[in-house]
């Protein structure tokens, strides 16, 4: 009973937690560049500021799809935290991304279209890897339920370290971090699919990004499961790795990103699957 209450609280607070992660991230990134950086609560100040802005939209369907993207993503995060079916979670996340991609396509805006094209390619780059990881997890635990990971004595990372490596390789794509931030690429396509959102409507996309942080770091945490300290350590290490990577690399184009995923990340996930089968 207790765990259900805890899960509910985490799900409800998920956007808030994600916002905090984002705040810390901006601070850490700034410190890496020897800047002072914004206060940790800066994302929330931005949030409040956006509420006050005049609401401008291109057309209603576009604005509505943005809102649905947020709702779908929150649902995916909820199923993940409640320990639901792994493949279902991946699928729900894809569905949320689909809504954003469709939203980007639904206007006659050049940058929005470019962004959606690239988002779709990104989804192609990380989705198969995630599915292979999910199948490896299934072979190890005997169930697709994420909660079954918590009933194992040894943490997942000890059983399948390669899967963790594959996850680390695709996380920057999922979080739209350099070198794989083609889908957003502010200097190039000015934010991609989110460009036509503003004011209160942008708020949904802005918070959806926070939810994405929660989603990704919970995935990382799963590799430690019961071992809380190991889990927190993994999350912290991944967090530092992603920000260091973001700070130190230049953007590659989408073809290079796809090739990297197909020739490096996917084979690693595949080898991991083979090892799991042969065990």
């Amino acid at each position: 009973m207790n765990s259900i209450i805890i899960c509910t609280i985490i799900v409800i607070l998920a956007p808030f937690i994600g916002g905090l992660v984002y705040g810390i991230e901006r601070k850490v990134k700034a410190r890496m560049q020897h800047r002072v950086g914004p206060p940790i609560l800066q994302p929330f100040y931005d949030f409040m500021k956006l509420v006050d802005k005049r609401a401008m939209i291109v057309h209603s369907a576009h604005a509505f799809l943005g809102i649905m993207h947020f709702i779908a993503l929150w649902f995916a995060v909820a199923v993940l935290i409640f320990g639901g079916d792994f493949i279902l979670v991946i699928y729900l996340h894809l569905m949320a991304t689909a809504l954003l991609i469709i939203a980007g396509y639904s206007t006659r805006s050049v940058f929005s279209h470019l962004g959606s094209n690239r988002l779709a390619i990104s989804a192609l780059a990380y989705e198969p890897v995630l599915i292979l990881i999910a199948i490896s997890v299934y072979l190890t635990t005997g169930s697709f339920e994420i909660s079954s990971i918590f009933s194992m004595s040894t943490p997942l990372i000890a059983k399948m370290p390669l899967a963790f490596v594959a996850l680390l390789l695709i996380l920057p794509i999922k979080l739209k971090k350099s070198p794989f931030d083609v889908a957003e690429a502010h200097q190039e396509i000015t934010g991609g699919a989110e460009i036509e959102y503003s004011g209160i409507f942008f708020e949904f996309l802005y918070t959806a990004k926070w939810l994405d942080y929660v989603f990704c770091y919970v995935l990382v945490y799963l590799f430690a499961a019961n071992n809380v300290w190991l889990g927190l350590g993994l999350v912290a290490a991944t967090f530092l790795y992603i920000n260091a990577l973001d700070n130190s690399t230049a953007r590659v184009d989408y073809k290079q990103m796809l090739k990297f995923s197909m020739y490096v990340a996917l084979p690693i996930a595949f080898i991991n699957l083979l090892l799991t089968i042969l065990k």
Binding site: I57, V58, H59, A61, I87, I90, T107, N117, I135, Y138
Partner: protein
Amino acid sequence: MNQLVLVLFILPLLVSPLLLVLPRKARTFATVTTVSILSLISVYLYFRADETISIMLPGIVNTIIAGADVILLLYFGYIAIQRKSLLVGIMSVLQLGGVLFLLTKMPHHEANQILVDKLSLFMFLLINIVSGVIAAFAIEYIEEENCSEYRKRFFLSVIMWFIGVMNLIVSADNLEYFFLFFELTTLASYLLISFRKDEESVHNALTALWMNQIGGIAILGAIFMAVFTPGYGEITFSSLIAKAPTVGVLLPFALLAVAALIKGAQMPFSKWLLGAMVAPTPVSALLHSSTMVKIAPFVILRISPAIHNTMLAQVIIGLTAFVFLVAAISALAQDTFKRILAFSTISLLGLMCLMAAIGSEVAVVAALLLIIFHGLSKCMLFLNAGIIERIFHWKKASDMDKLGEVGPFTSLIVAVGFMSLLLPPFGAFVGKWFSLETIGAGLGNSQVAGALVISAIAIGGAVMSLLYFKVMGLIIARSGEKDKVQFESMPILFSSSMYILLALIFAGIISLPFMMGGFFAPVASDVTGLAVNVQWSKLTMMIGEAQLPIIPLFLAFLFLPLTMIIAMFVRFKGADRAKEYMCGEKVEYRLSSFYFNTEKVTPYFIAIGIIFFIGIVTVAII
């Protein structure tokens, strides 16, 4: 019951010649009434027929069938001479020789020629309801075709008897009958593809003809092997499958599978289905959704009890997994809307045959699900492509970037159609069953191959979703001025067929949790011969060993298409409107998308496909 089944066979064949002479209004009336009756009968039969219906036809029918075989093959020979096609000629001579040889040598048994089991009833539903909608749609579509009045009637007439032949082929138990109906569907596809009579149509129709004739030769080979392998004797599906474990010769099944996979346009035989695009759109809809290509998963399902867990099944699984992946990739290279749809059909057919070949309870349920939902969605998408051609005169996906503005209803249908293709079959649903089944079956001893198949499916699924997004992206764009959506008007037969299909898809999704136990499971248990248990525990549904979180899944299924529909009507009145951001520039632009170039690798794909086909026959001989 028996009489009702006979109505399904005979009514379309009787109405078909009538359509050649009736005036327009009477034609419409006759077509709509006939397909309604057929649909009602198929529904009634499905829910009322508890036992397998077997019909013993009088001996005279056998003679008629044999005569029809010979006449049909002579006609193929005539086509070969008329069109100067060497390949068709060779195939016809080979087939004719085979038929004549078998007719003289074949021992005659008193066997049931017609056997209607749950699987046939299931196929009746798909064939009659979906093809019925297409037949009604075709009346309106063909009106604007640039051809003589007689040709128009001829077109509708062929569609009608095609439905009858399809009803027959899914109930044929006797392989000799099966061969004739198989060849008749080949004939129908030839007539329909060559309908426009220009050079390209005729050329593609001949390709379809000779490729499918290879399938016919394979069936003759199967009959030959069944007759001359000691132990088999009777050449009916039911007796072959029953005797397969004791006799242990799999070659007849391998040859039947080859015939099926050719009909299902699996590589390297994908060319005929791609060529079929030149025909009027209702033909594509018919070939892709409810008839022709669905023979492939149907036959594999039929023979799956015999090949379950054999090397033969594994080679078929390998081939279809391969096709699933490369056809999805090839689709990304296409620009013509219908060609994109065609490649996605080939790809999905691969998936259906794969699951049918696995042949376990859960895989069979998954295959059935895909057959139905793919039939509905593809039919809707193709008919919609027909509407786009007729009303807006566009054929290329890249031309359609204004569709979202001038034809919001059509663009909405495309979006919902693609989503319904994406959702029930992919993502969570089947993906998981797959992994369970392929690994569970362990693919015999080669688990590496199992892992490869799973990876092919994971990547293929992702490529497929990318494909759908890409096409959707081109057709849903609207500028800010078009905030209020006004649906375009279209002829009633067009819009009503769209509404019927939409309603069927939504009804299918909503009733899925109930249909799983009441609709799909009985068919699956009939196919596999094992009890398929569907149980519920809280929000989870258990089919055999597999668990499915059905309620969340089902919510998710509805979520995406409903969101698309609601997005059409939502209006935020309070918010101000802004123009799209263009860096302050004012330039003309067209929206476009990305393409993958697969021309270089296509020969390799085909070569690998050929190797797999040779493999199917080889492992059966060993």
